[in-house]
């Protein structure tokens, strides 16, 4: 039967549409792919183009893309996992990978994806759980402080450098100066209106730069004394003061304050680089994030690709990952979006990130300051709790109480889950 059906089909097709007979005799197997619908249009365009190229390049597999809204992406994936409806390939924010891997929804990539590709990637482009690689990414991002040369010069503010980043005092002084100039209702834009993972990605590095952390990484079981210790309280009070002093808009209705020149500084990820260069050209300044006492920290790990356990065609999925992780594909993504390429070979192919390229410093920031988010299956609760806590502090809640509450919530969740495999 299995042999007869395609032959019959091709005979029928040959009589009707003689040209498509070649295709019909080898119908490509469908490989479903989910990706989050980011506001970065270029990223989606490049990804679509790569899928097209892959589908054209061979006849065995056909990738079918489905877009999922970004705001509820992780929830959608969790719900689909529970219902057994996951696609073959999906993209995930790197910190949730340990949770999916622990739950048994992802396949280890070793043996599926070629070893050559795995070896070529920088460390933060690989999502691991208990020493196995479960996800790989085309790009990396880094946090930075954007501003404009003309603004800093006008107000006599020093440009922070990788050798000498701003300190907390320098940041506060700059903010006071800018605020006093009367030109900026809120001189610093921090994307406080974004929801979901941004809070943990953007503000936990600040907390870490103060010397605290979201969880004790030696055991992954407790947060007491770290997330609510002295340094964490210092972070909380600093964070709260940014809003209380009117340096940052507490409830921005958009995220265009810096690009529309309503703000002088923009604390955001390197993914905004391309947009900002378009807006400001040579006037743009990119500074490392401030050092709050324990050295500057930027979050490591961006969106990664993984293959699910339920995937019927893992070879097809792996072939696709191999394809998009070729240096020229990674370089194409980087060129279009401004993201940091995830292999050195790809970096050399790009205009901005090659050795001596004008955005090479992001590479250096990332290498010098990147700290991955806690690699524990408890991360979703840590992130959600951290967001609620940071929002409450932003809106004026008692810092110590908010931090204590977050610790209690995280620790109870860990004990409810029998330690998430860490004993």
């Amino acid at each position: 039967m299995q042999i007869v059906t395609p032959t019959l089909l091709s005979v029928v097709l040959m009589t009707t549409l003689s040209t498509s007979a070649v295709h019909a005799s080898a119908e490509p197997a469908l490989v479903k792919l989910w990706r989050h619908e980011t506001s970065n249009i270029a990223e989606i365009e490049v990804n679509k183009a790569a899928v097209e190229r892959f589908n054209q390049s061979q006849q065995r597999w056909k990738i079918e893309v489905e877009m999922i809204p970004e705001g509820s992406y992780t929830e959608t994936v969790s719900a689909a996992a529970l219902a057994g409806d996951l696609p073959c390939v999906l993209d995930m924010d790197q910190p949730v990978v340990p949770n999916f891997a622990w739950s048994g929804y992802l396949r280890p990539l070793k043996g599926l994806v070629s070893q050559e590709v795995l070896d070529s990637l920088i460390d933060s482009a690989k999502g691991t759980y208990k020493d196995d690689v479960y996800s790989i990414g085309q790009f990396e991002v880094a946090l930075a402080l954007f501003s404009r040369q003309s603004i800093l010069k006008e107000h006599g503010i020093r440009i922070g450098t990788i050798e000498q980043p701003w300190t907390k005092e320098e940041l506060l002084r700059a903010l006071a100066t800018l605020k006093a100039s009367g030109k900026y209702a809120y001189p610093l834009e921090m994307r406080t209106g974004w929801k979901g993972e941004w809070y943990s990605y953007g503000y936990a590095p600040m907390l870490q730069s103060f010397g605290a952390d979201q969880i004790d990484r030696s055991t992954y079981r407790t947060a007491e004394g770290l997330l609510n210790g002295k340094q964490a309280v210092a972070w909380g009070e600093f964070f709260q003061s940014l809003f209380a002093e009117g340096y940052v808009d507490r409830n921005p209705s958009d995220d265009k304050a810096f690009s529309q020149q309503r703000a002088a500084l923009d604390y955001v990820g390197s993914w905004e680089m391309a947009n900002h260069v378009t807006s400001f050209g040579d006037d743009l300044v990119v500074m490392p994030v401030p050092d709050f006492g324990s050295g500057p920290v930027v979050g490591g790990g961006s969106w990664h690709w993984g293959i699910t356990q339920g995937c019927a065609n893992p070879e097809g999925a792996a072939a696709f990952l191999d394809y998009i992780l070729q240096p020229n594909e990674i370089a194409a993504m980087s060129e279009a979006t401004g993201m940091i390429p995830s292999t050195p070979a790809a970096a050399e192919l790009t205009e901005h990130y090659r050795t001596g390229g004008d955005w090479r410093f992001f590479y250096d920031y990332s290498a010098a300051y990147a700290r991955l988010r806690p690699a524990t299956p408890a991360y979703p609760i840590i992130s959600s709790t951290f967001e609620t806590m940071a929002r409450n502090i932003k809106d004026g809640a008692d810092v110590q109480d908010s931090l204590d509450q977050a610790v209690d919530t995280i620790e109870r969740n860990i004990s409810d889950n029998k330690g998430y495999g860490f004993n």
Binding site: E75, S253, N392
Partner: protein, 367 residues
């Protein structure tokens, strides 16, 4: 007599039998849908709420009895004595306030109290009265939801009735007004929420600009979504504006069902517009009002999207609702069993309130 009545009944039964079969046949698709998408999931949620089921977990699911309900609803109280030094004098803190022992340290030291958190407290005399809850956030969300319902139902129904009265006349081009008043309903609530967060912005928003211009700078700027006292009213106003169109149409249908003869008779008797509204329109709309109030109430309990888009439950939990809490716990924090327990409790509460309203209206109708 007897044989006669039997023969009379016979054809009736024969006629009814196939009809009953058709009733079942015809309602099967709807019942099946109800069963698959409402009844079964509900019973699954009830079952799940007694377990520790996670959204994603390799751990075995086990029965935990009433643990989720205990964590959800358990409320307790305590009275704290202030800190005294060796001489028995009150210790004052940096702000000159009477100092109390730190509550969290106290609670954590006692295993029986370790799960409790502060919900609210008052200082009275030289004592502090504390209300504790195992999930203070749920209790706050519950109160917020009730507040939303209490505010939005009268506003939305009143607005709908007023609009319906306005457009219930035979004027040229009245359909244009109907379309305009109805248009917010067909706009996605997400879009409406995003647009209104622009309007509500403290410094750039249109509302504050108008307020300040009209009051010559005396009023405002109000931090609509950022001030815990204003955030819920802001969401109430927007929600009522967005949804009133549906109720307006229902009221309009109700108004057109009232016989014009009654108004003519009232005119002859010399009744004014107010007394016509009070004695003809409102009694004529009784059934419509019952339906509109009950359905609006049930709908209002489900408040979620506006909160998720505009405030994320903030500032400081002042707009968190039961649905928002359930989604946060159940999906974002992956504790689906706890989320189920919240839904079950919530279902019972809404059912109770709907039955109560129905009763209230029924007893009024009897008089």
């Amino acid at each position: 007599m007897e044989p006669k009545s039997v023969t009379r009944l016979q054809p009736d039964i024969q006629e009814q039998k196939p009809r009953r079969r058709y009733v079942f046949l015809m309602s099967t698709p709807a019942l099946l849908g109800l069963f698959m998408f409402l009844v079964i999931p509900f019973f699954m949620a009830v079952g799940m709420s007694f377990t520790d089921q996670r959204l994603l977990s390799p751990n075995e699911t086990s029965w935990v009895g009433l643990r989720n309900y205990d964590r959800l609803l358990n409320v307790s109280g305590m009275v704290q004595e202030p800190v005294r030094d060796e001489a028995g004098q009150l210790v004052l803190d940096g702000d000159g306030q009477v100092e109390y022992p730190r509550l969290r340290t106290l609670l954590r030291s006692d295993p029986a109290m370790a799960d409790y958190k502060l919900f609210s407290s008052w200082d009275l005399g030289e004592k502090r009265y504390i209300v504790l809850a195992k999930d203070p956030h749920f209790i706050q969300s519950f109160i917020n939801t009730l507040l939303f319902v209490l505010l939005v139902v009268p506003l939305q129904c009143g607005l709908a009735l007023a609009l319906a009265l306005l457009i219930n006349r035979q004027l040229r081009g009245i359909f244009l007004y109907r379309t305009v008043f109805f248009s917010p309903v067909v706009t996605s609530i997400v879009v409406v929420s995003i647009v209104w967060s622009f309007l509500y912005h403290k410094d750039l928003g249109l509302f504050n600009h108008y307020l300040q211009a009209m009051s010559f700078g005396l009023i405002g700027p109000i931090d609509w979504l950022g001030d815990p006292a204003w955030s819920m009213p802001s969401i109430v106003i927007m929600s009522a504006w967005q949804a009133a169109g549906v109720q307006m149409l229902i009221f309009l249908a109700g108004l057109q069902g009232i016989s014009p003869d009654l108004y003519e008779a009232a005119d002859l008797d010399g009744a004014g517009p107010w007394s016509k509204f009070w004695h003809i329109t409102l009694p004529g709309l009784r059934n419509t009002v019952v339906f509109v109030v009950i359905s609006t109430t049930i709908q209002a309990f489900g408040l979620f999207t506006q909160v998720d888009v505009m405030t994320q439950g903030g500032p400081q939990g002042s707009t968190s609702t039961v649905m928002y809490h359930a989604v946060t716990k159940g999906f974002r924090e992956q504790d689906i069993a706890y989320g189920s327990a919240i839904s079950v409790i919530f279902f019972l509460v809404i059912l109770g309130i709907a039955l109560f309203q129905k009763r209230l209206f029924d007893s009024k109708g009897d008089k």
